[in-house]
Every structure is written in C-alpha cells, then in structure tokens.
Symmetry: C2
Subunit: 316 residues, 2 copies
C-alpha cells in the first residue's frame, strides 16, 4: 500500500496525467491510503486561482464553463475542472456522471476534467472536492474551475471553495425576487444573466443591480452584472475579463491569502468529521449497541438525542 501511494504521489507531482486521474479516483473513493496520498503531495501544493460557477440547472453553465476553459487553454494555461454533481440519495454516486456537458473539452492538451459527487456520505460538501483541489495544485495547474449545479445548498458551499464565484441566472424562471433572495446575492462576486435575448432579462438584470447596490458597502469590489447570450458567444469575453479583474482585486487587497486560510480551516474541519465517521460512527453501525439504540428509538422509549449521548460516551 505504502509503495503504491508513494508511486502515485510521485507521478502526480511529476505532472503525469495518468497518475492524476488515478489519484483523483483514489481520493474520491476514499480508498485506504488516501490520507497518506494527500499528505505526500501536500508540500508540493502550489496556490492558484480557483474560480466557481453556480446556478440552477439549465441556465447555461456548461456552455459558459466550456468557453472559459477553452479561452484559458488557448492562452497556454493548464486548467483543472471539477464539475460537481448532485448526489443520488440512493446510489451515493454522482448522478450526472455520464454527462456530456464537457465532451468538447475532454482529452484536450492541458485540460483536466473530473466530475464529482456533491456531498459526503453524511451530507455537506464532499471533502473529496476540496482534496481534489489540492491534487490539481500539486500536479500543477494554472487555474481551477469548479462548476456546481444547484440553487439551495451546493451553491453556498462554493463560497468556501472558490476565490471568485460567478452566479449564473436567466430570466423567466418565475418569481425572480424570490430566486434572488435565496442567498445568491451574498455569494456572487460576478452575476451573469444568461439568455439575455429572452423576455425579462432587462428586468432581472436591473433588479440584481439595484439589490447589489444595497449590499454591504464596505467592500472594494462591486459585483458586476453582465448580460450574456452564451449560446451565441455574446459577452462571454466580458465575463472572462471580470473574473480576471476580481482575481487581481483579491491579490491586491490580500483577500486571496485570507480566502486560502479559510479554505484550509474548512478542510481541517471536514477531515476531522471524516475521521470521526471512520473511527466512531462507521464501526458503530450494526453493532449490538447500535441495534439496541435503534430499537429503543423505534419504540419511542428514548430519543435519538439520548442515545447519541450514551453511545458517544461509551466509545471514549
């Protein structure tokens, strides 16, 4: 095991594509030894900008991501892409694993794409996503793009992961004010209204603009609102510029470093939770103690709160 992990780590650090792919799978499946792998590559992690794109399904995220990745690759950058998919509650795997949305880019020189499930076994942003970022950074990419589907939870998680977040919206999804209120204002560094040729695009963009102007004003960066017609390539260059502008602004203000520290704290918390799960929760499932607790809860004798206390003190 140790040798295999060392070999893998060496390959990743040396920039071998096959090792990267294998390492990402290793990390995602939480195979034994993944902690050693992370530990081996960690000193070689090199900071790079992490960009995030989020929005509801169907707003055109894939088209936009394709453009960004393509443009950056044309500038001879090496790009790591992580496409975060909603997790199936049944299989536990990513649902869009078979997705075609990145087909155009896959296999191109300097472009590395991985689709990953959004959440860990017990909920929350999957720690594997954060570890995949480290792997890309040890392998040596110039930039990482993370695309998450969703309005609800995953899009709030992206804030702790990415330096710069673009929220993609589109007109005509009904109650626009509600959509906007649902946490997105706080999340985005850039707002894009895609399908701007559709009715309601002006209204949505205007609404966004006015809501953003009332956002907490002690920031240096005022999030721009951009109208796109991504399918026709319209204004995508402006979006790319805004990403680059925001990145410069972060570097200048020292926020980049601050964000990195926050990301590290988050990673440590996630690994502590994973550890708890592996060491205590996992081994507990199905034991006599566990079954006794479940039975008692089913009979409504004692509450889950009671049994959690009992079981955790027993494992000390």
């Amino acid at each position: 095991m140790g040798n295999q992990v060392n070999e893998l780590a060496r390959g990743i650090i040396a920039g071998e594509e096959k090792a990267l792919a294998k390492g990402l799978t290793f990390i995602e499946n939480r195979k034994s030894g993944y902690r050693e792998l992370l530990d081996s590559i960690y000193p070689e992690v090199r900071s790079c900008p992490i960009w995030g794109l989020t929005g509801a399904p169907g707003v055109g995220k894939s088209t936009i991501t394709n453009y960004l990745v393509d443009s950056l690759a044309n500038r001879s950058e090496r790009i790591g892409v992580i496409a975060v998919d909603p997790t199936s509650p049944f299989s536990g795997g990513a649902i869009l694993g078979d997705r075609v949305r990145m087909m155009d880019l896959a296999g191109r020189e300097g472009i590395f794409i991985r689709s990953m499930a959004s959440r860990g076994a017990l909920g929350g942003l999957s720690p594997a996503i954060m570890d995949a970022v480290s792997l890309y950074q040890a392998f040596g990419v110039d930039r990482i793009l993370v695309e998450t589907v969703g309005v609800g939870q995953s899009e709030t998680d992206i804030v702790s992961l990415a330096d710069t977040v673009a929220v993609i919206m589109m007109p005509g999804t009904g109650d626009d004010v509600q959509t906007i209120k649902a946490g997105l204002l706080e999340i985005g560094d850039i707002f894009a209204v895609n399908k701007a040729d559709l009715e309601g695009a002006e209204t949505l963009a205007g609404l966004l603009q006015s809501m953003l102007s009332s956002r907490n004003g002690d920031e240096k960066w005022v999030p721009p609102v951009i109208k796109l017609v991504a399918s026709q390539g319209q204004n995508l260059d402006t979006l790319l510029e805004k990403f680059l502008d925001h990145q410069k602004s972060l570097e200048k203000s020292g926020q980049k470093e601050k964000k990195e520290k926050m990301r590290n704290e988050m990673a440590l918390k996630m690994h502590l939770q994973a550890r708890f799960q592996d060491l205590y929760l996992g081994p507990l499932l199905g034991t006599e103690d566990w079954e006794k607790a479940i039975k008692s809860i089913n009979r409504r004798e004692k509450s889950p709160a009671y049994w959690a206390e009992k079981l955790i003190s027993r494992s000390d």
Copy 2:
C-alpha cells in the same frame, strides 16, 4: 434549566401553542437543554404522515403548499408546516426568514408554521428539522408538510425526512432533460408540472412520464405526473388525492413503518455528529493545538488529513 425544560415539555405534550413555538425555537437554536427537551417529549411522539414538496425557486411551491394546508385544515386536521430555507453562508441563518409565502395561513386555527434553516453548522440537513418533526408529533398534529427550496442537495435530503415527496417542476427553465436527470427522478413519489399553460409543459410532462416508466420496475407505486396551473387552482385537488393515495399505498405495503425506521437511524446519526461537534470539534477551535495545525497547513508542511488524525487521537 431542568424545570424550565420540563415545563416546556409538559406544555407541548398538552398541546399548548405557545409551548410549541417556544420549543421549536429552543430546538432550532440548539440551546442547552434541547436534548433533555427532546428526551422528555419523545415518549409522546405519535406517528403521522409526513409530506414533502420540493422544487427550484419560482416553480410555485408556496401556492401549492398553501392549497394543501388550507384543504386539510378545512377537514379539521391539525397541520404542522416546516418551510426549509437555504442557509446563508455568512449569517448562518435562514435567508427567507422574512418570507411572506405562508402569510395567508399563519395564525389560523390548527395550522402551525415554522421556517427553518436548511443546514447544520457543518453542512448537511440540519438535525433541527428532524427534531422539529418530533416536536410537532408530540404536540399532536395530524399531518406534517415539509417544503424545501432547491435543486441540488436539500431536495435529496427530503427523501430521508418525508414519507411522500412531490417534485414540482415547470416548463421553460431551459435544458429540461438535464433538470430531470439531476436526481429528481429517484426522489419523487409524485411529479407535478406547474404552469402547465406555458409552452413546453406537454413536452416536459411527456418526458417525465417516459423517463419514469423506465424507472426500476419492482415498485408497487408508479409515480404519477400531474399538470397544474396552481395560480388558478387547476388540478390541485388531484395532487392532494395523489398524496393521499400514496400514503395509503405506504401503509398497506408496510413501507410507512420502514420509512420511519430509516428516519430514526438518520436522526441518531445526526445526533451523534452533533455530539461530536459539541464535544470535540467545538472546544478544539481556537485552541493552541488548532492554531498550530492551521499554521502548518497554511505553510503546506502537513496536510489537513494529517492534522485531523493527530488532533482526533489527542482528544481521546
């Protein structure tokens, strides 16, 4: 503290509305003593159907929930509503806390509404939501409705919470196939295409129908697809009927009990995690050990995986 908790538990069990409201706040804020409260009311928890509604913002969930709650209340049922809101990544609170969507119903006899944040401090479905269900059930409601906003994560969580899940969709949100693929097929017991007077509704409903027909076939229940124009009250009665039908089907097949057991297992896991957080993770934050670990991670000396192992073995 003990006395206050006892008093609260007594009030909830006696069906006092004020005690319920206070208890729900107690549970949501995780005030010290909330475990004792849960434990005190737990033997009085009475099973009742739990219905879930989920869908992206703007699809009309609120109108639909309003109708269902209104109809059931007119049948002299007591209804507990939990409106699950996306959590702000910054304030940690629910974002739509000020929402108006349930205004019509609030304060009506036999209708109890609580808006709650979707997630716990460390991600995942907030355990408080599950505990709120227990509180409602000890208080004595005939039915619980849980409404979650979101396509992504929260809607997969609803499966572990509700007996019956209705997925609400609408036409015109772009890439319908992608929308449908994003895990929703596996989640819904009932599918509703709202705003069925809009272009594309037929196509969406047809697509859903054909995709559902290829869903794993060893089930007794075939999820119906209903077309609604909720704003005009169109077909909402059919939706209510389907909810009642599914509930009967669950009771007949013994699935209701099975779902309850799964819910209990989930609740125990959540409480164990909360316990871990309170006992280990919380006290660790900001300590000398913690700061040392963060510094080492920031300097890329050792990985989060390494430090998680170190820190957790130290706390044993």
